[in-house]
């Protein structure tokens, strides 16, 4: 029996990006809020100390800040005919662990999704006709519009201090920004970051080819900035140890650098670290949550009752907790019925590596950060006519030098030996003269891709691991081939002696890192037969449970997710503050 703890108004599961935002908002409402975080406390001065933050072996190769599979992992297979096996070490994606979550070691590229993304099925149907959407492609509308999201994007961007250049201010296109973005009410809080040689060459070349390059919207700060909560961040130094690392300069937006200094001082906030939530408890009706049960590091189970339960445990654990707790009807791929686990999607990560003449080109790739660089958006989403192409979707194309730590970032031209003197020379020659352009592309839902509980493998506590059944749908593979070829043209035009194209092809492998942009599983939407939460992220079945994270995406856009995830956190908090607290119960009646 779990020991019962004194009641709280709100329990928040996970104190990463979204948990911190929601906790802070609800504390401002005067509620007693407790956050349960499975990992340790982390802060800049102690954990991303400048004396040893720049350690590739520790943070990149050995993934020190990330979730350890010994604690929990997932199983994976490409289709329902295979036996899923555990990811014994994380490869394809790197879930976070500890206060700040994956937001501690993210790259900081901070997009708004395209207006068409939020009504994707309607949009494609209007533009190309219903027959253009393959039968097994279960894409759907989000139940809200870009206009609904705009104020919350704005709040997240000002919280994080995003550096960038608007491409559309109140409907007026702006030179130097992304001409395809939805209208913004105001400029970015900070000007774009400075650009190194590689992205500059990319942008010049792309512009000559008729593209409209713009600076990547970046949560690495271009200057000192004090956010609306009064927290001050420092200027990014392009240290080159950014993605997969904590920032020692308070320059990368994370819960630590934007929210926690304020939240942690609030007397109605309490944080319990090293506490892993096992499940959400429901009362006998199954329609009301009474709180959560969690376990601390001694193995003791504790029950925290609360009026409101908010799952902010990153998309993987959000979906798993819903499945383990019996909230919502699990998806059955064989019949296409049920919702929890449905529409699991990923991100098509495509890349072109250019090898340039070392005598003429020095890109100094070690000068960089997760979100520095230049982008184009002509190849993204529905920004080009898909009519004759036979596929839907696309990706954001960018030249973004994230750093060049040499254990992992020293590409050599194909055919180079992997060791010996021949390897050494080729590696040395290309180290400063190679340049990558990536295309992070959409991933559209497919009937056969889903999440459920594994029948065999369990975590250290004996709970079933979540099982991923996923492969890249034909649509997405065709799209990847198309956009990667276009990117290859740009890299060749930049002057590369050799441009090696790596379009993403199937089968999906758990081994190489692709991105931590796993999404879906508890889609949001206006229709409870195809969604798990309503457009305010409230469970249809258990209205005092909300979940915030990329798990509510019905499918993925050709953009990184966190700008949208952060905006949704503000939107859910706003709905709770302005509506739910006045009249607890469903915010939307189906």
């Amino acid at each position: 029996m779990a020991r019962k703890l004194p009641h709280k108004d709100v329990v928040i599961v996970g104190l990463g990006w979204t948990g911190s935002i929601i906790a802070n908002e609800l504390c401002d409402e005067g509620l007693d809020v407790v956050a349960l975080e499975r990992g340790p406390w982390r802060d800049t001065a102690t954990d991303f100390n400048i004396g040893y933050a720049a350690d590739e072996l520790r943070y990149n190769s050995r993934q020190e800040l990330m979730l350890r599979p010994a604690q929990t992992t997932v199983t994976a297979r490409n289709n329902a005919g295979q036996t899923a096996l555990p990811m014994r070490q994380f490869g394809s994606f790197h879930p976070g662990n500890g206060v700040g979550g994956a937001g501690v070691h993210w790259a900081g590229i901070t997009w708004r999704f395209s207006p068409a993304d939020f009504r994707l099925r309607s949009h494609f149907t209007e533009r190309y006709g219903a027959q253009a959407i393959p039968d097994d492609m279960t894409i759907q509308d989000w139940g809200l519009t870009y206009e609904d999201m705009e104020p919350y994007y704005d709040r997240f961007e000002y919280l994080a201090g995003v550096s960038g250049k608007a491409g559309n201010l109140n409907g007026q296109l702006q030179d130097g920004g992304n001409p395809f973005e939805g209208p913004r009410k105001r400029e970015f809080p900070n000007p774009p970051m400075a650009q190194t040689y590689g992205p500059t060459l990319f942008a010049e070349t792309a512009a000559k080819m008729g593209y409209k390059p713009f600076p990547i919207p970046s949560s690495l700060l271009s200057r000192t900035y004090t956010n609306p909560l009064g927290v001050t961040m420092g200027q990014c130094t392009f240290c080159g140890f950014c993605t997969n690392y904590g920032c020692a300069n308070y320059s990368k937006a994370s819960a630590q650098t934007t929210v926690l200094p304020v939240l942690m001082r609030k007397s109605n906030f309490e944080l319990r670290t090293l506490c892993e939530v096992l499940k959400v408890n429901l009362d006998s009706t199954g329609k009301k949550a009474t709180g959560v049960t969690y376990v601390d590091t001694s193995g003791e189970e504790l029950e925290q009752t609360a009026d409101l339960v908010i799952l902010c445990a990153f998309m993987l654990d959000n979906v798993r907790l819903m499945l383990l707790s019996g909230i919502g009807k699990p998806y059955d791929a064989s019949t296409g019925t049920g919702v929890v686990g449905r529409n699991f999607c990923y991100q098509m990560a495509n890349q072109v590596v250019g090898f340039f003449d070392p005598a003429k080109y020095n890109f100094n790739n070690f000068i960089g950060g997760g979100a520095t660089g230049m982008a184009i958006d002509e190849l993204n989403n529905d920004n080009f006519d898909h009519g004759p192409l036979g596929f839907l979707g696309g990706g954001s194309t960018r030249c973004a030098p994230i750093g060049a730590e040499p254990i992992s970032k020293r590409p050599t031209p194909p055919g180079t030996p992997a060791w010996g003197s021949g390897w050494k020379k080729a590696m040395r020659d290309s180290y400063l003269s190679n340049l990558s352009v990536g295309c992070e592309a959409s991933s559209y839902a497919n009937r056969g891709n889903f999440l459920d509980l594994d029948p065999t493998y369990t975590d250290r506590l004996g709970r079933p691991l979540m099982r991923i059944t996923f492969d890249f749908p034909e649509n997405d593979v065709k799209m990847s081939a198309y956009v990667t070829k276009k990117v290859g043209e740009i890299v060749r035009a930049m002057g590369a002696q050799q441009a090696v194209e790596y379009p993403r092809t199937g089968p999906w492998s758990t081994v190489p890192y692709q991105s931590t942009h796993v999404v879906g599983g508890t889609a949001m939407g206006a229709d409870p037969s195809t969604s798990v939460v309503n457009p305010f992220l409230q469970s249809w079945d258990v209205p005092n449970v909300f979940t915030v994270g990329a798990n509510v995406f019905p499918q993925n856009s050709g953009f990184n997710p966190t700008g949208t995830v952060g905006a949704l956190a503000f939107r859910a908090a706003d709905a709770i503050r302005s509506h739910y607290l006045k009249s607890p119960g469903p915010l939307v009646h189906a």
Binding site: P40, D43, L260, F366
Partner: protein, 260 residues
């Protein structure tokens, strides 16, 4: 419940009793977990818990005897890393850069034992897309794989051991291992041993010297990686210009040490 001060503005934060009335009000109290000891950390509205020692700084690997390898294994690994990264006009060899020492120290830590990985059964053979599914930790792979390599050599090279082979013979055998074509006995295939050796050798060659390899930042100097400098703002706009400052590592730089 008392309204809280919000630290950024000094104003009491928004507090509506009316909105709270619907919520079951329970006296707020500090949850004492003393009965269960210091298991989980409770952090209240006290500001940021600057918990010194919550993370350990890395410790400099010191020269000295092997901590994992037997003397024979150490010899073998030194002979291998010397071929994977041979001495030439670009750099010293993998052995002289400390790669074997690096691997030895890694294998006696959490990396060697796969402590942090998911090592629960059942262990079943998987598809290549499912990653490594064996129960072999790196430590076991080295222990059994190196023995298999020694046996293989004695069997196929007229009783010679790997360390007795000429550089050309060593390279030939390594090439066969790389392709998985050398037939090893036991659970560790030649291809698996090779790929782990190659991965760890490269880690040792390019990692911060604090871990025992990359001695004197030899690889960083060779390729022009400035290490842990952390601030390149003055060079961002110097497009296509060489960065001339020498590298720095977590432990500083050799020439910072007092001479004599």
């Amino acid at each position: 419940m008392k309204p809280s001060k919000s630290p950024n503005t000094g104003q009491p934060s928004v507090f509506h009793t009316s909105r709270r009335r619907f919520l079951a009000t329970t006296a707020m109290g500090l949850v004492a977990l003393t009965a269960s000891g210091a298991r989980a950390k409770l952090l209240f509205g006290t500001g940021l818990p600057w918990d010194s020692g919550s993370i350990e700084p890395p410790r400099q690997v010191l020269p000295g005897p092997w901590t994992f390898f037997t003397p024979r294994e150490g010899e073998l690994v030194e002979a291998i890393v010397e071929r994977l990264i041979p001495a030439d006009d670009l750099s010293v060899s993998g052995k002289d850069a400390g790669c074997a020492v690096f691997i030895d120290r890694q294998l006696s830590g959490h990396y060697g034992t796969s402590d942090r990985l998911y090592m629960k059964g059942p262990f079943q053979p998987g598809l290549p897309t499912q990653g490594d599914q064996t129960d072999l930790t790196p430590a076991k792979t080295y222990r059994q794989g190196l023995k298999a390599l020694d046996d293989h050599c004695r069997r196929t090279m007229n009783g010679k051991s790997f360390t007795d082979l000429s550089p050309e013979q060593k390279d030939k055998l390594l090439t066969a291992m790389e392709a998985g074509e050398a037939k090893f006995e036991g659970p560790v295939g030649s291809g698996s041993l090779f790929s782990l050796l190659l991965q760890n050798t490269m880690e040792g060659f390019f990692a911060d010297p604090i871990y025992g390899g990359n001695r004197d930042m030899v690889s960083w100097k060779m390729i022009g990686f400035p290490g842990t400098r952390y601030d390149y703002r003055d060079h961002v706009l110097k497009h296509n210009q060489k960065y001339t400052l020498p590298p720095v590592s977590i432990g500083g730089r050799g020439d910072w040490a007092r001479k004599g």
